[in-house]
């Protein structure tokens, strides 16, 4: 998602994300070839073309383009059962739910969920599936708001329980800001019930939010400037009591808090005096944010590119996981030059446009709730205390002993499926096989015949939650390491070695004698490859388990963590 050394087109960013762009503005955006082409197949019972006209322009924000193929109109959606030929990346079921109003809503939802499951069984096609719900207020006879609400609830439950299946929440879009979601004239002409504004809104939701969330690495950090970004004014000149906080700034601060609650890490990167910033957050009671909401703070007179890179290093993240918001285009240009992988947003002075951009920016949308969001900021702040402990300790062993670590090993624990999927798709540095597991693959690996360990960690300073995964396929005396992942938050405490050693012992107990390891080199997974190199220095693909177990066991025999196993 990096934009390279040239900063983004600010006007395009504001046009597409801050307000609702006009159809003519979207049509005027020339088609350009992008770095990634996404193929979307649409099985439908109402027109999708009016939406797909406008999806592509929003995908320019993340250097992608779209190729859409649509089925004939078919209320039965029988095409879902067609054998897949690997020709699509995403399947969309675009359903005119009014056609199913004779059914009970729960029955209608069950029909489509069963259809998707049957389609996967028949075709072996495991691509992600999107299904639309229905907005209230359409006024069609027999389609009451209570019927629509019950349908939405049943679809929510059905898609939550079906791997890689997600809801396009039209009802949520309707409630966001556009009362005229329906247009009966469009319905009369083309059996397309939605207004032009709703159409652009739906296209933006798909192109800027849902599709990137399906296929791109997510952003993890939102770093913000202070002056003319979180408030109006210059702190160094106006003082903590003199800067002005308007409704747009309050909306922006609330938006940042929502992002934090959704699992994103907040960081502060500003050229100011630290003491002024501390006074500002202490004095201004109308601030929704407090200084403690930021997991990393760089308030000094150093360069912003250097400070953003230092935030990435502190959080153990690649700079491409950071989105930086600043009001100064010259400052942003310097970041684009000095830290080119950091993504950038130009703040508007009122804060209102910035809040709107952050509510829709690619990489900031979660398809499912983040399973460990509540723990993240506290855990990252604890890492700074750990660094101080490490510096004060006489040697590494004393440091680890002082932490009082407890490692919980969960064997094939289906309740962790969502977290395992999340770790597989967001972990870049300690990701040995880069398997990028789908929800369906996670469900299979948690099933019989496989060994999948989810590993939780806590110490005296914080509870890190589930931070690592080891997944093996077992076939007789052979085991294959499908994936080994660890959150960068948990690195530096040798927990990966503890878990690896324990897993090898468990495989041995299960009768395995040989381990197949297909590590893959990616752009950022050097830490995982270096870890493996400790035990497999020659890069062998198949290693006798006994030899590996001895080497790994030697490595962790004095590790002080308490290990608890849950089967």
């Amino acid at each position: 998602m990096a934009f390279g050394k040239a900063p983004p087109d600010w006007r395009l960013q504001h046009t597409l994300l801050a307000g609702l762009p006009r159809g003519s503005a979207l049509r005027a955006l020339a088609k350009v070839s992008a770095g990634r082409k996404l193929r979307l197949r649409c099985e439908r019972s109402m027109p999708f073309e009016l939406v797909s006209d406008f999806v592509g322009p929003f995908m320019r924000l993340w250097d992608a383009e779209i190729a859409v193929s649509v089925s004939d109109y078919d209320p039965s959606l029988a095409g879902v059962l067609r054998r897949g030929r690997g020709e699509e990346d995403v399947l969309l079921l675009w359903i005119d739910w009014r056609l199913h109003r004779a059914m009970a809503p729960e029955q209608a939802a069950r029909w489509v969920i069963d259809l998707v499951a049957a389609g996967r069984g028949a075709s072996g096609n495991g691509v992600p599936v999107l299904i639309n719900d229905w907005p209230q207020g359409g006024g069609t006879a027999g389609v009451t708001d209570s019927w629509v609400a019950a349908l939405g609830a049943a679809l929510e439950e059905g898609t939550r329980n079906l791997a890689d299946c997600h809801l396009v929440r039209l009802e949520r879009l309707r409630k966001e800001e556009y009362p005229a979601f329906f247009d009966p004239r469009n319905d009369e002409v083309a059996h397309y019930p939605f207004s032009q504004a709703a159409t652009v809104h739906i296209a933006r939701h798909l192109g800027a939010q849902m599709l990137p969330a399906l296929v791109m690495p997510r952003l993890k950090v939102v770093a913000v400037d202070l002056d003319h970004t979180l408030y109006e004014g210059v702190l160094g000149e106006d003082g903590p009591g003199g800067v002005r906080v308007g409704p747009g700034h309050q909306a922006l601060q609330r938006r940042l808090l929502l992002l934090k609650e959704a699992g994103f890490i907040l960081a502060l990167c500003s050229r100011n005096e630290r003491v002024d910033v501390e006074r500002l957050f202490a004095q201004r009671k109308e601030f929704a944010l407090s200084l403690a909401d930021f997991a990393a703070v760089r308030v000094d007179w150093g360069s912003k590119p250097d400070n953003l890179l230092s935030i990435a290093a502190q959080l153990n993240l690649h700079p491409s996981a950071i989105l930086f918001v600043d009001d100064n285009p010259a400052e942003l240009a310097r970041v684009a030059e000095g830290a080119p992988e950091v993504e950038l947003v130009l703040a508007d002075p009122s804060g209102e446009g910035t809040a709107a951009i952050l509510s829709r920016h690619p990489g900031l949308f979660r398809l499912r709730a983040d399973a460990s969001s509540a723990l993240r900021t506290q855990d990252l702040q604890a890492n700074q205390q750990r660094e101080r402990l490490r510096a004060a300790a006489a040697d590494p062993a004393e440091y680890l002993a002082r932490l009082g670590m407890v490692v919980d090993l969960f064997e094939n624990h289906a309740e962790h499926a969502s977290r395992i999927h999340e770790l597989s798709n967001k972990t870049n540095q300690f990701n040995l096989c880069l398997a990028r597991l789908s929800e369906q693959e996670v469900a299979r690996l948690l099933g019989p015949g496989n060994l999948t360990l989810s590993i939780a960690l806590r110490d005296a300073l914080s509870d890190s939650g589930v931070v690592a995964v080891l997944a093996f396929e077992i076939s007789g005396r052979r085991a294959r390491l499908v994936e080994f992942l660890m959150s960068c938050r948990a690195l530096g405490r040798e927990v990966e070695a503890v878990a690896f050693s324990w897993a090898l012992g468990r495989l041995s107990d299960l009768g395995c004698e040989l381990l197949e390891i297909q590590a893959r080199e990616g752009p950022r997974n050097q830490p995982a490859l270096e870890f493996l190199h400790r035990f497999v220095p020659n890069g062998e693909r198949e290693v006798p388990l006994a030899r590996l177990r001895e080497a790994a066991g030697r490595d962790v025999q004095r590790h002080p963590a308490e290990i608890r196993v849950h089967r």
Partner: protein
């Protein structure tokens, strides 16, 4: 640009054919002026001229001159 030229530009862009604003252009002349493109044309016209057509007007549009009359009415 005259209203007629702006309308011709909309028709040309959506139907993918060159259209001379000096000439009449009717639905029958375009193979691809189907219901979806009809909707695209009307919605683009409304946005361009800042108007909202009545349902019966949407259905009644048959040619460039129909749209020109609607544009003049709302001018």
């Amino acid at each position: 640009m005259t209203s007629r030229e702006r309308i011709a530009a909309i028709l040309s862009e959506i139907l993918g054919v060159p259209i001379d604003a000096a000439q009449e252009y009717a639905r029958e002349q375009a193979e691809n002026w189907d219901s979806l493109n009809h909707l695209r044309i009307v919605l683009a016209f409304e946005e361009e001229f800042g108007v909202s057509l009545q349902p019966e007007e949407v259905v009644a549009v048959r040619c460039l001159s129909d749209l020109e009359r609607l544009a003049q009415r709302t001018a």
